[in-house]
Amino acid sequence: DQQVKQNSPSLSVQEGRISILNCDYTNSMFDYFLWYKKYPAEGPTFLISISSIKDKNEDGRFTVFLNKSAKHLSLHIVPSQPGDSAVYFCAAKRGGSNYKLTFGKGTLLTVNP
């Protein structure tokens, strides 16, 4: 049973445009959500996070939106740059779980010059 779902395996956008990556979850006990970026042959690196008590968190070009009622979050990258090309993983955790992260399958973002 997949608790965190990223239904788009890949996404291609033009440089300078907005990239929107989506994530859905099924476990209502999740209370903290994170996005990770992963380049080939490297480990995932933390990008941005959001608590379940918020609906938006912004860090530079990256903004994460959370819709609790829909159990949906999205990552917006504006403007997209070729260096943003990577696999993006959505992840979730809940309190009292030893901070384990449950990951989605990832979305490969390609930003074309």
Binding site: Q6, D31, Y32, L34, Y36, A41, E42, G43, P44, T45, F46, S49, S51, F89, A91, K93, G95, N98, Y99, K100, L101, T102, F103, G104, K105, G106
Partner: protein, 113 residues
Amino acid sequence: DAGITQSPRHKVTETGTPVTLRCHQTENHRYMYWYRQDPGHGLRLIHYSYGVKDTDKGEVSDGYSVSRSKTEDFLLTLESATSSQTSVYFCATAREGITSPLHFGNGTRLTVT
């Protein structure tokens, strides 16, 4: 990132042989995790540790064991490697706290022939 070193970085082994992967951290993080990444599956938790000698199973723990005798080291052992354990293995660490992200090492690529 976060002073995490995984060894070896690459390994090829034969079916039925034992294999041990090592994760070493210099950040004194309490929590440590082993994940595997496979195409179409994202990152899945194998085992994790919430302190020295304190470990527990993740979602794909069959065929794996772990040990943590020191804060800085977390070992993952495949007692008798199988071809289904061919994967990229990532170690991660985290501090206490729901808002603390996991920090990942650069992975070990294991091939079981």
